[in-house]
Symmetry: C2
Subunit: 370 residues, 2 copies
Amino acid sequence: MTPAFDRFTCVIPAGGAGSRLWPLSRANAPKFLLDLTGSGDSLLEATWNRLTPLAPPERLMVVTGNAHRDSVVKQLPDLRAENLVTESQPKDSSAAIGLAAAILERRDPDSILGSFAADHVIRGNVLFQRAVRTAVQAADQGYIATIGIHPSHPATGFGYIACGGARGDLAPFDIYDVTEFVEKPDESTATEYLRSGGYLWNAGMFIARASVLLDQMALTEPEMVASLREIAAAWDTEQAAAVREELWPGLPKIAIDYTVAEPAAAAGKMVCVAAHFEWDDVGDFASVANLLTRGRSNDLAVLGDGAQVLSDASSGIVVSESDRLVALVGMEDVVVVDTPDVLLVTSKAHAQDVKKLVNRMKGAGGGHLL
Amino acid sequence: MTPAFDRFTCVIPAGGAGSRLWPLSRANAPKFLLDLTGSGDSLLEATWNRLTPLAPPERLMVVTGNAHRDSVVKQLPDLRAENLVTESQPKDSSAAIGLAAAILERRDPDSILGSFAADHVIRGNVLFQRAVRTAVQAADQGYIATIGIHPSHPATGFGYIACGGARGDLAPFDIYDVTEFVEKPDESTATEYLRSGGYLWNAGMFIARASVLLDQMALTEPEMVASLREIAAAWDTEQAAAVREELWPGLPKIAIDYTVAEPAAAAGKMVCVAAHFEWDDVGDFASVANLLTRGRSNDLAVLGDGAQVLSDASSGIVVSESDRLVALVGMEDVVVVDTPDVLLVTSKAHAQDVKKLVNRMKGAGGGHLL
């Protein structure tokens, strides 16, 4: 058999609107297509660039909605046509990653895949690559591996992974059994997690043999996996679209956490690579501000090529899509997002509540602005 | 002699940029030209309309800068050409009101004038007119009258008038000696003023015979008054512009408080009509918010014809010159001013500090936005 690493494909699920980042993120400009770090690259482009040292273009796959197909192709000129998997409607992560796995399994039954979200930010690429390589070793031996991030602070916005014993049998360093996945904790629980040292942030990365992942999913969702394998069987043929259109609408919307991660952990089939790179899921504008200022206090974050800001503030964030002046007087921790048709003003403390506003707008005839 | 009221001219000094209302107010769009109440009328138009029941157009005069001449004429189609007095450069209120007084004195030595700022807001026009009529009676008898407003709260943003004994000899109701004018107080002093009942807000209104006002001013600024009378002598001739250009630049910049009000009060020549109408000098966006909500709590103020606001806030103000959506999440007491080239975000508590920002911009190459 070829070495594990030569059978390894990186899958980038590029979905999710990022409604807490509205009005910067929109239905037609979801979070993964945006440059939220001021680097000049969108999160998708940065994800692609981060993965190219791990796999050549023929083993880099993107799963996205039909609606974003053109934008993805434009941003990723090296993406091979056969590795662009489109969903006719959003069906959450089990279907998206499951379809990729089924297609890869069909192409090579010994395929190993790693799934890496298109809209996270990572700093420390060498550490990231090292963690992925360790995970691939474990995956080749039949485990489902995830990568957990050593927490830098008691974050309440992330899920955590409780780790058990070291698995020196799988790789020499940094790999542990997963005891359980736990939901976003409250602050005191998060502080306790940090203190105990046994919890890592769940970055939502999964590395496994395609067949192992699908077989695990089939224990929870057998019909779904049967459909995914049926779609995959037709994928590289002329019937691809027809079969997908027939079966895709009937798939359940369910996160891979529930179909793979949690059941596999409960069954002792999940391992975690503990990693030290910086990671953020950029969930809201408070995260964007922290990323831009790299956690410095006494710094207002500014995002936007032409942004003109005059401010006496030492915190908060201004995102501007125009070159007009944004003047702030006496506003600490404010979030200002200045787009051509919507101006959002909120605070870092209320950054999560933007989602509520978006939901309110959906029901109130504001859909054209979403 | 004709009755006092038939010799009474209302003078509207229309000057002052209102820099605490930037970026709504600009050099070419000063506060008095703006509609800050959502009534459809600018403050100048509202002032004009408030005065028309007190004097016909031939006795309504506006003093303004050359730069605003066209805007004033456009807003006030009934303003007579001979009653539009323009300053070639701003020289503060002594020169502006003094020139009007000198012109009126020249036209009729028994003229009485009342000076009413173009950029204040008054509600309760009947009470206002009654107060002016009382003041005109006192003015005709040689006093300099002002109108003081019964305070509704311990404002620290206004000057106060300390009142002495009632002057039933001048008018049957509501007229008192002025003991002294006092500067803007701190909060505890303002509270004491309110408690004592003997202090009124100084609304900066002066009603006097033109000659009495000028003679009083001449005690402090004799050369200035001589120049003003010289300009006035030429005013209704072909030499008007030439004489003004010769003398105006040499006039001192000094507020009428120091040349007339305070010295006249000290000399026992000042009386005050105590009035109960609502008055505000609309000094900053916090004032604008209070005016728009008429002091209601649990109300976000919105100014702008096309303003679209989606907010969970129960306080603060949004001023919008566009029809794009302004979305506020979790922001109480915020001030958002959305203009085509500048976006200002501040809080009601910092509304006064907008002036500091404007001053900073003057020195920092931001003059084109002022």
